[in-house]
Structure formats: C-alpha cells, structure tokens
C-alpha cells in the first residue's frame, strides 16, 4: 500500500510539474488526446516494470543479487500492478472522451469498433480484457483454485507483447518513441530468455550422474 502510494505520488507529482510548465495545454482542445497518450505511455512503462519484476521473481539469477530483496520485489510487483490499472483507466477514459480521436466509448471497449486504426486499437482493448482477467484472478488467489489463477498469470508476458504491438501501431508518435519500445521490449525478452536458459541449465545439471 505504501509503495502504491509512492508510485502514484511520484506519477502525480511528475504530472503536476509537467502540467504546470505547460499551462497553455489546459485550454488546448487536444488535451484529452495528450492526456490519453501520456497515460498510455506511462501505463506501458509501469507494465514493463511490472512484467520484468514478475519474471525476475522466479529467475534463477535473482539469488546472486541482494538488492532488491524478494520482499521488496513482490510488494513492488503488486504496487506496479495497481498503478498500471489506474493509468490504464485514465488512458482509456481520456481517449474515449476525446471527440477528435475517433475512438469513443464503443471503440474503447468493443474490439474493431474504433474509427481510428481499428485493428491497432482493438489489440489494446483485447490486452485490457486480458489484464483484467490476470489481475482479477491474482486478487482472488487463495479463493479460487491454484490451477486456475497461476496458469492465467503466466500469460502476462504474452499480454505485454500485445501492448507493444498496440503502442507501436496505434500511437501517433510511435516513431518518436521507437527507442523506448526497443529498450523495454529488449529488457523483457532478455529477462525471460535468460530465465528459461538458466532454468534449463539448472534442471539438466541435476540429472548428470555423480
């Protein structure tokens, strides 16, 4: 809860500083679009940290680093999940309210109903529903069967891929942000691939005869 407050506080503080330095924006008819894009990018960054932290939690190499401690990491994972959901709701609400965006409420919640880049927006909508499923089953862990919540939780990396494609194809500034997508995508891929290879190596070294 404290970490969630910290993440949200830093986000809002940065938002306030940026907003106060661009006062003319508040009277700009593009404000919902700018807000939607800003929160979309912020949600993507918190999602990257969330997925990377989740993968790292079970990475065999985690034992070689003392910082962050597993306790901190697992609590950061939860705080980042909550922050991602809040930012995602802001992202979707802003774009649904924007009269010029060509998305609208139906385009936001019904796949392929947006006038603006329907397939790209639909990928974001599908990713949102998948995230609701992952977050909902994680919150209910302990109340629902472990064979239900954990396999669902394991598809989060695939949802991240969906979000990357959504950001690249739907973002009007995708070209300007290309290095962010490359860096964050590479981070998640490296963490995931090294986890698989390290686990494979560990499992097979145990099978060698003494």
């Amino acid at each position: 809860m404290l970490l969630f407050g910290l993440v949200l506080g830093v986000s809002l503080g940065l938002g306030y500083v940026i907003a106060s330095r661009s006062g003319s924006l508040l009277h700009n008819k593009m404000l919902p679009w700018i807000m939607g894009r800003t929160m979309g990018v912020a949600a993507y960054l918190t999602l990257t940290a969330l997925v990377a932290a989740g993968i790292w939690l079970r990475h065999p190499w985690r034992t070689t680093f003392r910082v962050p401690t597993p306790e901190t990491l697992v609590r950061a994972h939860v705080a980042l999940a909550a922050a991602t959901v809040v930012l995602l709701i802001g992202h979707m609400t802003s774009l649904a309210l924007d009269k010029y965006a060509g998305v609208g409420w139906s385009g936001t919640f019904v796949p392929w109903h947006a006038q603006y880049r329907p397939t790209a927006v639909a990928l974001g909508t599908l990713a949102f529903y998948a995230m609701v499923l992952v977050a909902g089953t994680a919150v209910l862990a302990g109340s629902i069967a472990r064979r239900v919540w954990f396999p669902i939780h394991s598809v989060s990396a695939a949802i991240f891929c969906l979000c990357v494609v959504h950001g690249v194809l739907a973002g009007s500034d995708g070209h300007a942000l290309r290095w962010i997508y490359v860096a964050t995508g590479a981070l998640v891929v490296v963490v995931q691939v090294t986890r698989w290879t390290a686990r494979y190596a560990a499992e097979h070294s145990e099978l060698e005869p003494l």
């Binding site: 939690l57 079970r58 985690r62 034992t63 003392r66 401690t69 597993p70 306790e71 990491l73 697992v74 609590r75 939860v78 862990a141 302990g142 109340s143 069967a145 472990r146 064979r147 239900v148 919540w149 954990f150």
Partner: protein, 82 residues
C-alpha cells in the same frame, strides 16, 4: 482451534504469494523462498489468511495442519487447492 503452518522446502519455488497473503507469519529468505516465523496463527482472521496462503501457493508448498497433524483447507478445497 490450534493450527500449525509449515512450508515444504522441497516444493517451494519462491513465488512469494505466501508472504503477501500471510505476511505476519511468513517471511522470505534472501533467496526469495518462504520461511515460517509464526507457525501457529491465532484468531479467526489470521487462520483464514494462513489457509488462503496455503490455497494460493502454486506448488502446494504451504501446509496448514490441525493439532492432530491433519491437513486442513479452506471450505470446498480439493487436494490440489481446487
């Protein structure tokens, strides 16, 4: 009712869900594996949290037993937590 919580180290894979759900009784060691610090939860809420932690563990490493060493689960749970 007296119950005891323990973690089977051969099953624990360090998902850390137990430390989130039953933080007053389980902590993580420096490698991220669960370690019981208060093995006898007292009070209805605490016991329920321990049972939820046991039900949520993806590897079934968290075990809650009564005073006769019988494994207990949340109402309606099968052997695999389902």
């Amino acid at each position: 009712m007296t119950v005891e919580i323990r973690i089977d180290p051969t099953r624990c894979r360090g998902h850390a869900i137990c430390a989130l759900m039953y933080s007053e009784g389980v902590e993580l060691d420096r490698w991220g594996y669960g370690r019981v610090v208060d093995g006898t939860p007292e009070g209805r809420r605490s016991i329920k949290r321990a049972l939820r932690a046991a039900a949520a563990c993806p590897n079934g490493a968290v075990v809650v037993e009564d005073s006769a060493d019988r494994r207990i689960r949340l109402a309606g749970r099968g052997p695999d937590g389902g």
